[in-house]
């Protein structure tokens, strides 16, 4: 508790004790009215002096209709009508409610801060052979810093000495530690777990991952959702309307009774009007909505999903179509041998052997993946006369055999007849001694989570579309394997924007479209979609900048989790709005009819707020 909150707590305790004493005293002893008034005024002022002062200032500044004003009028009115106990109690409960709210909000602030506790406090810089702790902000690019076990990586960089295991859970939600060795890039916000490492920084602190993430999360609650704006607007009209209602309730019925020649019963109607005022306080609504969204965003970030604004949670919850970019999003973006199809007389191993040896001199990604698949060490003495045939492939003499490896054109050129044609990814055809020996296919590897992510989306009735620059046949095949509904292939980057625009036109108005991508080319599409989701670890800075939601560990199944969080948050928001407004309206009606007394009014104000705040904090947690 802060000093301010403690002070309020003491005042609550003191005034409760005094109120109880005065209550008991006036029950047992007959005291004159003037003494009773004075006695009740003591706890009233102890608990309510600041409210009264604020209300007074509000009136002077013509800022009426705030809650201080409502409370002051309601309690002063109650006291004036001789309802001393109620007057003090309303003020007391109001303060208890405010204290509770301020504690609850403070606690969720701290909870979320703890979830996002990745801000490094210092960096160890070596100056003149001595290690010095400095503010990460002051470290220049290219400085060598030392990171000890247990410390946070303060700035992005490359390991120049040592190896270690990194805990990336604060960034990605992934609990399995990651190994990192000399030459590896490491990003700030990870925690160094095992070894001492030296890191050469590649960015300034302000441009480092950790700063960007903190910036995003801190700014996220500035982008307000529709529900938040609705409730702010609602509160703006609600309070004056209720005040006018209360005034009407106090004046109209008695005046009508007077005209009709009946007893005006002023006191009864004024009490009803005051009850009205107590119920009317809008704070339960106004606080619980942003608190729910804040909780949802906090929950998402602790799971490695950064949401840049409450409004995007709202959009995500009503997404009906998810458009994926293929490379880097559904696939890993690295090439790997995915199929080996040897002809008679060869087996997989020997086919790979010839291909890997023929390609041994090349640094092309395809050659690298062949060498990787071959596994054994390449003995350069066994291969000679390696020639690159531009646009076709390579030829070489391996163990005295003439080996050609390359595309279909190369096979045609040397007159080797290819029997099996493959469409998936890139095919490398191999001929040995001018005779076709088989084919090796190399393609981008589909992420293990891609299939389950797409299946999960479909189970929710969400349409999935894949956009890719790949050839039609390869794209179809990949889509089939992942389970994507629709494929648009052979697209240039600019075509992707067009495709997304067409999809936006096709969908029904209530549905939202999400685009998931990672590349620099994706930035325009990311900003064009209703909600743009970027892959954070692989993704380019431009993509992260343009995106509304960032998946820190590039795992497409996090989209499902993010949607789950979004739906839950929105559900809580709706619960709170409906619950709070319904209870208030019911109590207002009961109050007007004279059924609800001051005590029920206090529940409608403070009780509703407490329940709404507790409900809102549920958004912080999600079952995985």
């Amino acid at each position: 508790m802060t000093a301010k909150q403690k002070k309020v707590l003491y005042r609550i305790i003191i005034s409760t004790v005094i109120l109880a004493a005065v209550w008991a005293g006036t029950e047992f002893f007959r005291v004159p009215l003037w003494l009773e008034v004075i006695l009740y005024l003591i706890p009233y002022f102890v608990i309510g002096y600041d409210i009264l002062r604020k209300a007074g200032k509000g009136i002077l500044k013509r800022q009426m209709f705030d809650e201080n004003f409502l409370m002051a009028i309601a309690t002063v009115g109650a006291m004036a009508l001789g309802e001393f106990r109620e007057g003090v109690a309303v003020m007391l409960f109001y303060q208890i409610g405010e204290l509770f709210q301020s504690c609850a909000v403070g606690k969720s602030r701290r909870d979320i801060a703890a979830l996002m506790d990745i801000r490094p406090d210092y960096a160890n810089v070596i100056t003149d052979g001595r290690v010095e702790k400095v503010d990460p902000d002051e470290v220049e690019v290219g400085t060598e810093i030392i990171i000890n076990p247990g410390e946070k990586v303060p700035i992005d960089g490359i390991i120049s000495e040592g190896s270690t295991t990194l805990n990336t859970s604060a960034l990605t939600g992934e609990s399995i530690p990651r190994d990192a060795a000399c030459g590896d890039e490491i990003i700030s916000g990870c925690i160094n777990m095992t070894g001492v490492i030296k890191v050469k920084t590649t960015k300034e602190f302000g441009d480092s991952t950790v700063s960007k993430i903190l910036d995003m999360v801190e700014n996220s609650s500035m982008k307000k959702s529709r529900s938040e704006n609705f409730i702010t607007r609602f509160a703006k009209y609600y309070t004056p309307i209720v005040c006018c209602g209360a005034l009407a309730l106090a004046i109209l019925p008695p005046v009508i009774s007077l005209i009709a020649g009946m007893n005006p019963d002023w006191q009864n109607w004024i009490i009803r009007a005051l009850t009205f005022l107590v119920i009317s306080c809008p704070c339960a609504l106004v606080i619980s909505i942003p608190l729910s969204f804040f909780g949802g965003i906090g929950c998402a970030s602790s799971n490695g999903v950064l949401v840049k604004g409450s409004n995007y949670l709202e959009v995500l919850a009503s997404t009906g179509c998810v458009v994926f970019d293929k490379t880097g999003t559904l696939t890993k973006g690295v090439f790997q041998v995915t199929g080996v199809y040897p002809e008679d007389g060869y087996d997989s191993k020997s086919l790979l052997y010839y291909a890997a040896y023929a390609e041994s001199a090349s640094g092309h990604p395809i050659s690298l993946s062949l060498k990787k698949a071959f596994e054994d060490k390449i003995d350069r003495d066994r291969v000679k006369d390696i020639k690159e045939l531009a646009g076709h492939g390579v030829c070489a003499v391996v163990d005295g055999h003439n080996v050609y490896a390359g595309n279909m054109k190369l096979m045609d050129k040397i007159g080797a007849s290819v029997r099996n044609v493959h469409y998936e990814g890139t095919a490398v055809y191999v001929a040995v001694d001018d005779k076709y020996a088989g084919c090796i296919t190399i393609s981008d590897v589909i992420k293990p989570a891609a299939r389950s992510a797409v299946a999960g989306l479909k189970a929710k009735g969400i349409r999935t579309v894949m956009l890719t620059g790949d050839a039609h046949a390869a794209a179809e095949r990949a889509a089939e394997e992942i389970g994507i509904d629709t494929v648009r292939s052979e697209l240039l980057p600019a075509d992707k924007v067009e495709e997304v625009e067409n999809l936006l036109k096709e969908k029904s108005p209530g549905e939202k479209l999400a685009f998931v991508g990672d590349g620099i080319n994706d930035a325009p599409v990311l900003s064009r979609a209703d909600v743009g989701i970027a892959m954070g670890a692989l993704g380019s800075d431009a993509a992260i900048e343009a995106a509304d939601i960032v998946l820190m560990d590039d795992d497409p199944s996090k989209i499902l989790l993010a949607m789950k969080i979004a739906v839950k948050t929105l559900w809580i928001v709706k619960e709170n709005i409906v619950f709070a407004i319904a209870v208030k309206i019911i109590c207002l009606i009961l109050g007007a009819l004279g059924i609800a007394n001051m005590w029920i009014a206090i529940f409608a104000d403070v009780g509703v707020m407490v329940i709404a705040v507790i409900n809102a904090t549920r958004a912080l947690r999600i079952k995985k």
Partner: protein, 72 residues
């Protein structure tokens, strides 16, 4: 130009009122106040003097909500 300031305010409704008051201050293009992070983000008009504008903004805030503070 955009700047972020820390604020102190006790209730969500008051925060909304403060935001409105800052937004209406001359020289302010847009303002957003997050009650959850207690941060105020102000976008200034071209060529506005941020310090001067913020002093005025704080005055306007005090008008609508006495019990508030912007840490300039």
């Amino acid at each position: 130009m955009k700047k972020v300031y820390g604020v102190e305010v006790d209730c969500a409704n008051c925060a909304a009122k403060m935001e409105e008051a800052v937004r209406k201050t001359e020289g302010v293009k847009d303002a957003a106040l997050s009650f959850m992070t207690l941060k105020l983000r102000v976008e200034f008009e071209e060529g506005a003097d941020a310090d001067k504008v913020m002093k005025e903004a704080l005055k306007n805030c005090k008008k609508v909500e006495d019990d508030c503070e912007i840490f300039l």
